[in-house]
């Protein structure tokens, strides 16, 4: 359902075109249908009943990273991304989901299918990889650069409550699927750092995928169970914060849940209350006096802004400040750090050519800094950047991994 307020917004598009050149997708394709203005105008025609939601429209609607650059740049104040997201939900019934997405989303919303898949995935990933052709890619990412499954999911490696002596604060930790199943190092780093700072960490059992990949594909009903379950588990009054290490999960918990529930006509009260406590781990760590604990580590680091952290949540300075605090580590800003990496979740395998072009610019900007480390608080961005770095000896990490390293001098 597109809400009446969103519908009315299309009339605020004055067609100035200021959204064209900031749009990474338009800058690859250079035709209007790829631009935010073009899409808004088509949505307007559909709302007015002058155009049907056709195949071509559907194709254009998904030729978008949902990076939200247009929304923050729109002088008229259109929430372009929300309009597109609502429209994706609107056309879902007509067009359905591609089978790959259907399969993935079924995994992420079910609680029985996933363990089964993970068991066989872990058992077979090594022999299976050996069978893959060397040159093959998933979207833009070579098989050889795909991450491996954690031997044991992160949540199975820790108790539900990780106690601290005389805890200063208590936090809930939303691990997200990427950290839980693929990037355990990030999760371990988060837990170690918090522990060291005397924070009690609770990892609520039964937490589910945040659902963002599902509802951004338009499948809102499918994601509803995940949303409601997570809200139920994370609505706890006696904790100081809800921490997230993944920009995307953070955007979901902090903002998207509220929008979606509102647009679906569900109650938003609990989501709003929970959302207020949600913080990116870099934001949370900004409140601590870390300097006295940090040991020097050598290196030159640059930082990439995830769309879901910068534009969805407005977090810009904290991760940089965090990196800047680490002695010995030289921080260098890359050109266009705030430009989307070109991953966009499933965008990169739906539009590998466009994605390669955008990521190519990102990789060049990274190389130009001469850094040997790229930090970014989003698993999607890290995957995309790592997958497109080629043979460059540049490590791609979460900022908190570097903090953990500087705290312990242990390698993550």
């Amino acid at each position: 359902m597109i809400t009446p307020e969103l519908k009315e917004e299309v009339y605020n598009c004055i067609k100035c075109g200021l959204c064209l050149t900031p749009c990474p997708v338009y800058k690859q394709l250079w035709f209007e249908g790829a631009s935010p203005r073009g899409k808004v105008q088509l949505i307007k025609k559909i709302i007015e009943g002058k155009l049907e939601a056709s195949d071509r429209f559907h194709q254009l609607l998904f030729t978008c990273l949902l990076c939200e650059t247009c929304t923050v740049n729109c002088p008229s104040g259109l929430k372009v991304d929300r309009l597109m997201k609502a429209m994706r939900a609107e056309v879902l019934e007509k067009f359905g989901l591609p089978w790959q997405k259907k399969m993935l989303f079924n995994l992420l919303t079910g609680d029985r299918l996933l363990p089964f898949f993970l068991f066989w995935g872990r058992a077979l990933q090594t022999p299976f990889r050996a069978l893959l052709p060397k040159e093959g890619k998933v979207g833009t990412i070579p098989y050889s650069k795909l991450p491996r499954l954690n031997k044991k999911s992160l949540r199975d490696q820790y108790p539900e409550v990780i106690k601290a002596d005389k805890p200063k604060e208590r936090v809930l930790y939303f691990t997200g699927c990427a950290t839980n199943y693929l990037f355990e190092n990030v999760g371990k780093a988060v837990i170690d750092v918090l522990n060291r700072l005397g924070v009690e960490v609770i990892i609520p059992k039964g937490q589910m995928c945040c659902g963002l990949p599902i509802f951004l594909a338009g499948a809102r009903k499918m994601a509803l169970k995940n949303i409601q379950k997570n809200i139920e588990l994370f609505s706890q009054d006696d904790v100081d914060a809800i921490l997230v290490d993944c920009a995307t999960c953070g955007a979901a918990l902090k903002k998207e849940y509220i929008h979606i529930l509102e647009e679906m006509g569900e109650s938003t009260e609990a989501a709003k209350k929970m959302g207020k406590k949600v913080m990116d781990v870099s934001q949370y760590l900004a409140n601590f006096d870390l300097e006295k604990h940090l040991q020097p580590i050598a290196g030159r680091v640059t930082y990439h802004d995830p769309c879901h952290l910068l534009r969805s949540q407005g977090v810009k300075e904290e991760p940089r400040a965090l990196l800047g605090k680490i002695p010995g580590l030289q921080f260098v800003e890359m050109a266009g750090a705030d430009v989307c990496c070109g991953g966009g979740g499933t965008f990169q395998w739906e539009h590998p050519d466009v994605s390669t072009g955008i990521t190519g610019n990102k990789v060049k900007a990274i190389k130009d800094t001469g850094a040997n480390l790229v930090a970014s608080g989003c698993p999607g961005c890290r995957l995309q950047i790592f997958g497109n770095l080629g043979e460059e000896p540049i490590e791609v990490v979460h900022p908190v991994e570097l903090v953990a390293k500087a705290l312990s001098q242990k390698s993550y």
Binding site: N12, C16, G17, W30, F31, S54, F57, P75, G77
Partner: protein, 461 residues
Amino acid sequence: MLKPEILQKFISILGPERVKTTKEDLLTYSYDAFIAESIPEAVLFPKTTQEAAEIMKLASASRVFVTPRGSGSGLSAAALAKEGGVLICFTMMNRILEINCANRYAVVEPGVVISELQKELDKVNLFYPPDPGSATVATMGGAVMMNAGGMRGVKYGVTRDYLLGMEIVLPSGAVMNTGGINAKDVTGYDLTRLICGSEGTLALATKIIVRLLPKPKTKRTLLAIYNHIDDAGNTVAKIIEAGIIPATLELMDKQIMKALEDFMHLGFPLDAEALLLMDVDGDVEVVEKQAALIANFCKAQGARDVRVSQSEKENEQLWVARRSAFGAVARLRPNCLVEDATVPVSRLTEAIKRVIAISEKNRVQIAVLAHAGDGNLHPLILFDQRNKEELVRVEKALDEIVDYALSVGGTLSGEHGIGIAKSKYLSRQLSPTALEMMRAVKKTFDPQGILNPGSFLESAA
């Protein structure tokens, strides 16, 4: 109607990817930043002169209407397929071909976005001054065809003043060059400047050669806040009269300040009536001196506060704000027509008063913006296109602004062009002889009348 066999030939020239024909694609090319809509029959994206020439050869052989287009940020519907036919869109032909530091010129393809060129030039300490509000969107081809002006007009002039030469494709498909790379050139008629501002009615530009300046050593941005808009207008006249030429001299009224404040939260005072946004640039000593002088003028004319921006970041934000003014007023009402009648600068205060009076009389919301330094008013007329009764009042207000501007020796359009937005007024400013001459020129270039049909000359009353 475009015959299928002709469409097929266009596809054989460009390939299927660069010929868009779906209903959805065509709808996205039915508008620019004006309020009119007109759906083309196909949109063609050439990448080379050769392709553009072949398109025109085919078009002239089969009498297909062709309308050239860039990013579609124009404000007068000049780049819409008003009489049907195809659009030839240059956004994919967008390479900077040469930046020549020794002779200070650049050669670009028409689809290069103005600010992209400026960014590249900045790296080598060169400067292309024309700076329309839409510089981050608009293409060089569009700027040339519309003779775009902009914020630095007061000191640096407009696109025409930097244009050295072009490679053009005539409606017949013939390719020719005008002008060249030389700073001085009086060989033959100045076709370069004839085509500049022709609104895409004479030829397609496929290469553009522009003159460059050394980058000014330094720049200061000043912000003066006024309780009375008249005082702001008077300040402008005083500054110009005193022989100081700031690089930019922009005026905004309180409605625009409010819309921008909603968007960017810069701390504009919402109780003030107007502000002036000014740049001075050049050598450090000169800039310091001029900035101080201007600040004094502002205070003497009643500015309640004058601020000199403290950092590059603040400068940048202020100018992003100014660029966003047109878009930001959509926060006030859904549609906006940007009038751009221009008057001699000494009349500025009077002109602003007149606009306000016209706004009140016709009960039409008008926000006042102006490239004040060159008398180029930009009254932003705000309305809702869906309200027919309101549209009538809007039309009336527009008529009255035009009447006033012409009565004091002003012009219909300072920089946005005539297109279809102002064609009904054209004969008020141009004599029958002048119109006849223009039509003769058009006929010479385009005897069949296939290039941008329905443009200002044809639709002129």
